[in-house]
C-alpha cells in the first residue's frame, strides 16, 4: 500500500519501520532536513524535506494515490489541520493522527464530521495507561494485550524452575488438566513458537496464555505453578516514581479501585498540585534515585512503577527498586533500542507507549477486516481480533479438520456475548469474532488472509 507519513518524529520512525518490514511503500515528509536524512539513511523509505502543503511535495508523494496518511508531527494542532486539509485531496485514504492532549482525545464530539470518519487517533499515552492497569491486575505478567474492552487478555509469564509444566509435552498437560488454559505462544532464546501438541516446555520459557473475562486467574496460576499470594491487589503496595501526567492518571485509576498508592515527585510545586487533585494517595517530594528514600518505602510487597519523563531514570530506579527487594518493577520507556535490554536489566515489565500504536495501525493495513490488532514481544507476535464473514474458509468447519497453518492459533472465540477458548471441536460461525495469534514470520499475513478471504 502507499503510505504517507507526515513527521519524521520518533513516532513516525517506529511506524515506518514496521510498515517497510511488511512491504509497504512509504513516503516520509518533514521540514527538518536532518531528521529526513537520518530516516532515508536507515529505512527503505523515500524521505522528503519540505512542507506537506507544498504542491510540489504533494505531487511527489502522490497524495491522491495514498491508501493511508499518518500525521505524526510533534504538534497536535498541526496533525489535525494536516488531516483536515488533505481530506479534500484524498478522501478515500485512511487517516491516523497522533494526538496527545486529553482535551482532544476524551471529547468524542470533536471527531464526528465526515472528514474524520476514516480517521484513527493514535494515543500512545492512553494506551500505555490502559496497559499499565492491565499489568497491575494480572500480577507477574511481563506483557499484556487486551481486546474487546478487556474481555480478552493475552498475558505473558515466565516459567520458573519447578513449575509443573517444565519438561512436559503440551498434549500431555492438556489431557490431565481439570480446567483448560490455552498456551498460545512461547518465546525461547528470542525465537517465538506457536506450540503444537508435541511442544515441550523448558524453564525460563516465556509463554503467553489467553485469559477470558470471568475465568479465574488463580486456575491459570496453578497451571503454570506461579505463587497464588500475588493475586490479591490489596496485598501490594504501589509505589509510583514520577508524578507527571502518567503518574497522576495511574494514581487516580488506582484510587478508583480503592487503593492508596504512593507517588514520588521531584518538583515540590508539582507534588503540591498532585495533592490537590488526588484524595487517597500519599505524595512524597523526593528523587526516585535516592537510595535512602527508596529503602524507606520498599519492602517485599512493593510494586514499583517508574513513570518519570526520563526513561534512563525510569530504568535505573526500577533496577534499584528490584535490588532493594520490591517484588515487581514496571518501567516506561521511549527508545526502541531499549526494548531488548529491559528483561536483561531485571525489570519485570516495560512499556513503550509509541509501540502500542503500531498494532493499531498495522491492523488497518490488512486486506481483510480486522476489529482490533496488537503487536507483542517487540513485534515478534501478532494478535488480531477478526470478524468472520460467511463463506470464509474458517467458517463452518471443526477446527480440528481445518488444519490451521503452522504458526497461527485461534486464541479466543466470541459469539453473542459468550467467550470461549477454542479447541479441536470448535466450529466458528459467520458473525463470530476470533482472536488469531501468529508469530509474524514469512508469509504469515498471506496465510491468515487465506483463512478469512471470502470468494466473490
Amino acid at each position: 500500500m502507499n503510505i504517507v507519513i507526515i513527521g519524521a518524529t520518533s513516532m513516525g520512525e517506529v511506524l515506518a519501520k514496521y510498515m517497510v518490514e511488511e512491504g509497504h511503500d512509504v513516503h516520509v515528509v518533514d521540514t527538518d532536513s536532518d531528521a529526513i536524512a537520518q530516516m532515508a539513511g536507515h529505512l527503505d523509505v523515500r524521505a522528503l524535506a519540505g512542507e506537506i502543503q507544498d504542491p510540489g511535495i504533494l505531487s511527489e508523494v502522490q497524495i491522491a494515490n495514498a491508501d493511508m496518511i499518518l500525521a505524526v508531527t510533534q504538534s497536535d494542532a498541526n496533525n489535525i489541520v494536516t488531516a483536515l486539509a488533505l481530506h479534500g485531496q484524498s478522501p478515500k485514504a485512511r487517516y491516523a493522527l497522533w494526538v496527545r492532549d486529553a482535551q482532544f482525545t476524551n471529547n468524542s464530539q470533536l471527531w464526528q464530521g465526515a472528514q474524520f470518519e476514516q480517521a484513527m487517533l493514535l494515543t500512545p499515552e492512553r494506551n500505555a495507561l490502559n496497559l499499565l492497569v492491565d499489568l497491575l491486575e494480572i500480577p507477574l505478567a511481563f506483557e499484556v494485550a487486551s481486546f474487546l474492552d478487556g474481555k480478552i487478555h493475552l498475558a505473558g509469564f515466565c516459567l520458573q524452575e519447578g513449575s509443573p509444566l517444565v519438561g512436559k509435552k503440551l498434549c500431555d498437560i492438556d489431557r490431565n488438566a481439570e480446567f483448560r488454559t490455552l498456551v498460545v505462544a512461547v518465546e525461547r532464546d528470542h525465537e517465538v513458537f506457536i506450540p503444537t501438541g508435541e511442544f515441550v516446555f523448558f524453564s525460563q520459557d516465556r509463554l503467553f496464555i489467553s485469559l477470558l473475562e470471568g475465568s479465574k486467574l488463580s486456575d491459570s496460576f496453578d497451571f503454570m505453578g506461579l505463587e497464588q499470594s500475588h493475586l490479591k491487589m490489596r496485598n501490594s503496595r504501589y509505589l509510583i516514581g514520577g508524578g507527571g501526567k502518567m503518574g497522576f492518571m495511574l494514581a487516580r485509576q488506582l484510587e478508583e479501585k480503592g487503593l492508596s498508592p504512593i507517588v514520588i515527585e521531584k518538583s515540590r510545586k508539582q507534588a503540591k498540585g498532585l495533592v490537590e487533585r488526588l484524595t487517597r494517595s500519599q505524595v512524597l517530594h523526593g528523587d526516585v534515585t535516592n537510595l535512602n528514600l527508596l529503602k524507606e518505602l520498599i519492602d517485599g510487597s512493593t510494586t514499583y512503577i517508574a513513570l518519570s519523563g526520563n526513561q534512563e531514570i525510569n530504568f535505573m530506579s526500577s533496577v534499584l527498586a528490584r535490588r532493594l527487594g520490591a517484588n515487581r518493577s514496571i518501567t516506561l520507556f521511549d527508545n526502541e533500542g531499549y526494548m531488548a535490554i529491559s528483561s536483561v536489566m531485571g525489570v519485570d515489565a516495560a512499556i513503550h507507549p509509541k509501540f502500542t500504536t503500531i498494532g493499531q495501525v498495522m491492523g488497518l493495513l490488512r486486506t481483510y477486516p480486522v476489529s482490533e490488532a496488537q503487536l507483542l514481544l517487540g513485534g515478534k507476535l501478532d494478535a488480531l481480533l477478526v470478524p468472520l464473514q460467511l463463506g470464509a474458509p474458517l467458517v463452518g468447519k471443526q477446527l480440528r479438520s481445518m488444519g490451521m497453518p503452522k504458526g497461527v492459533v485461534a486464541a479466543a472465540h466470541y459469539r453473542n456475548g459468550q467467550l470461549t477458548l477454542p479447541d479441536g471441536n470448535t466450529i466458528f460461525n459467520a458473525g463470530d469474532q476470533v482472536l488469531l495469534v501468529s508469530n509474524r514470520q514469512g508469509r504469515m499475513n498471506r496465510q491468515i488472509r487465506s483463512l478469512l478471504r471470502v470468494e466473490r
Partner: protein, 478 residues
C-alpha cells in the same frame, strides 16, 4: 564491516554475470560459433557463485562502508570475470582482456583491438552486452531483481549511481532500481527497432543499441558508425542524447506525464551546450572543409553528442578536424552528461553548481556586505553537496594529471597521454593523436593499460568509491 554479507552480495553478482552470459552463448550456438569460451567462463563464474552457499549465515545489514566495498570490489570482480570469454577464446591476453572488459563495463569504449571485425559475432555481442550491463549498473540490476537487500540496497545505490544527490523515484530502493532498468530496457528496444529500420541486421542493431544506450561506444565495425547509413547515424545521435539525460526525468515524463521536466535546469544546460558546440563545429566544417549542410551537421551533432555523453562512437575521424574543434571536444569530455544518466564525466549539474558558486563569489567581491548563497533550481545548494561537487572537479583533474605522468613515463607523447587519460577517466574512449577515433589503445605498455583500467573504473564510480579503497582509514575498524 560485514564481510560475510559483502561476500554474499559479490557471489550473487557472480551468479548474475554467469546468467548474463547465456545470451552470448545462445548467439554462439545460433550463429554456429565455438561456444566453449562461454561455457568455460560460465563454469568459472559458477565456481565463484558457490560462495553464496558458504555465506548463508551472513547478517543482512549493510552500512555505508559495506556499500562502498561491495561496489568497488564488485566492479573489479565483474570486469575480471566478464573478460574470461575473451581470454578463453584466445582473442586477448589477461591484461588486454581486463582493459577491454573494464572499458566495456565502465562504458568507456576504448579498445585494444586493432581489428574488431575478425572477432566472432558471439564475442562481439558479449562485448556490447557488457557495456549495456555496466551502463545502468550491474549492482543496480542485482538490487532490481534480487530485492532482499532492503536498506543495504540504498548504500549500494549511493555508491554506484552517478550524481551529487541521490533521490529514489519511489519509496523502495528495489522498486526504484526496477523502474530504472525497465525504462532502460524499453528505450534500448526502441533503439534496436530504430537501427533495424535504418538498415542494420538484428544482431548489429542490438550490439549498437547496447553500446548507444550505455553511452559505451563499442562498435562491431572498424569504421564505427561511419559503416552505416546516415539515418542510422541520426538515430544514434538521438539515442545517445537520451541516454545522457537523467533517467529520473525520463521516468517523470513517461510514467507521470510531468512536462515540467523540460524546464529542468540541468537538462537546459546540457541541451544548450550540445546545440552551441554542434553549431560551432558544423559551421566550421562547412566553411573550412567544404562539407555540405547535412554532412557537416550530421558529423558535428554526432561527434559532439558522442563525446559529451562519453559514448565515443565516431562517424568521422575528428582528428582531421581543425585543432580548435578537437580542443572543444576535449573540453566536452570533462563536462560529461547529466547526473543519473549512463554517461560519465564530471556531470553538467556539478559544473552548473560550481558556476553558481563562482557567480556568488563575484557578487560578494562587488558588494562585500551582500549575503550570497549559491542556488540551484531555485533552492540553496546544501553546503555538503557544494563541497562534493567542488572536490569532484578537483579530484577528477588531479587523478587525470597523475595518470598523464605515468603514461608519459611509459613512453607516450604529451597529447596522447593527456587525451588518453581524459578519455578514460571520463569514460569516453577515443581521445586525440595516437588514441584518436580511428586508433586504439593496443600499443600502450602494460603498466599504462593497468593504470588506465583502474582509472576507467574509478571514473565510472565517480572516483571516491575506488580511491577510498587505497586509503588505510577505510580499512581500519572504527
Amino acid at each position: 564491516m560485514n564481510l560475510l554479507m559483502n561476500l554474499r552480495v559479490l557471489s550473487l553478482l557472480a551468479i548474475l554475470l554467469t546468467f548474463c552470459q547465456i545470451a552470448a552463448l545462445a548467439v554462439a550456438l545460433i550463429v554456429g560459433e565455438d561456444p566453449m569460451p562461454f561455457i568455460r567462463s560460465m563454469a568459472v563464474g559458477g565456481a565463484v557463485s558457490l560462495l553464496y552457499f558458504v555465506t548463508r549465515s551472513a547478517r543482512p545489514e549493510l552500512r555505508a562502508r559495506d556499500g562502498i566495498l561491495i561496489v568497488g570490489l564488485g566492479w573489479i570482480m565483474a570486469t575480471v570475470l566478464a573478460g574470461l570469454p575473451f581470454v578463453f577464446g584466445g582473442w586477448m591476453g589477461w591484461i588486454d582482456s581486463w582493459f577491454e572488459t573494464a572499458s566495456g563495463f565502465t562504458t568507456t569504449g576504448a579498445s585494444i583491438l586493432t581489428d574488431v571485425e575478425i572477432l566472432p559475432k558471439s564475442q562481439l555481442f558479449w562485448r556490447s552486452e557488457i557495456q549495456w550491463l555496466g551502463g545502468m549498473g550491474i549492482l543496480l540490476l542485482a538490487i532490481a531483481i534480487l530485492p532482499f537487500l532492503g536498506v543495504g540496497g540504498m548504500e549500494i545505490l549511493k555508491a554506484e549511481v552517478p550524481g551529487p544527490t541521490k533521490d529514489r523515484l519511489v519509496p523502495r530502493v528495489a522498486s526504484t532500481a526496477r523502474i530504472l532498468w525497465v525504462l532502460y530496457f524499453a528505450i534500448t528496444v526502441a533503439n534496436i527497432v530504430a537501427f533495424m529500420g535504418s538498415g542494420m541486421d538484428f544482431l548489429e542493431a542490438t550490439d549498437h543499441a547496447f553500446a548507444t544506450m550505455a553511452t559505451g561506444g563499442f562498435s562491431t565495425r572498424n569504421a564505427s558508425l561511419a559503416a552505416f547509413s546516415p539515418s542510422a547515424q541520426w538515430w544514434c545521435t538521438l539515442f545517445m542524447f537520451l541516454a545522457g539525460i537523467n533517467f529520473l526525468l525520463h521516468y517523470r515524463l513517461i510514467y507521470r506525464g510531468d512536462t515540467a521536466v523540460f524546464r529542468d535546469t540541468e537538462l537546459r544546460a546540457y541541451s544548450g551546450i550540445v546545440v552551441v558546440a554542434s553549431l560551432i563545429c558544423g559551421i566550421t566544417l562547412m566553411v573550412m572543409q567544404d562539407k555540405d549542410l547535412e554532412l557537416a551537421m550530421r558529423q558535428a551533432f554526432f561527434n559532439v553528442v558522442s563525446i559529451i555523453t562519453t559514448t565515443g562512437f565516431a562517424n568521422d575521424d575528428f582528428a582531421k578536424w581543425p585543432l580548435f574543434l578537437q580542443v572543444i571536444l576535449l573540453n566536452l569530455m570533462v563536462v560529461g552528461g547529466m547526473a543519473g544518466s549512463t554517461a560519465g564525466g564530471i556531470k553538467v549539474v556539478r559544473l552548473v553548481m560550481v558556476w553558481e558558486l563562482f557567480l556568488a563569489i563575484l557578487d560578494r567581491l562587488i558588494q562585500p556586505r551582500r549575503i550570497t548563497l549559491p542556488k540551484y533550481a531555485g533552492s540553496v545548494i546544501p553546503p555538503e553537496v557544494m563541497e562534493g561537487s567542488l572536490i569532484m572537479v578537483v579530484v577528477f583533474l588531479f587523478v587525470m594529471l597523475l595518470s598523464v605522468i605515468v603514461l608519459t613515463a611509459v613512453g607516450l607523447d604529451f597529447t596522447t597521454a593527456f587525451s588518453a587519460s581524459l578519455a578514460c577517466i571520463a569514460n569516453v574512449g577515443p581521445g586525440i593523436a595516437k588514441v584518436g577515433p580511428v586508433e586504439n589503445y593496443a600499443f600502450i605498455h602494460d603498466v599504462g593499460k593497468l593504470l588506465l583500467t583502474i582509472t576507467m573504473i574509478a571514473g565510472r564510480l565517480e572516483l571516491f568509491t575506488i580511491l577510498i579503497l587505497f586509503f588505510p582509514r577505510f580499512w581500519k575498524q572504527s
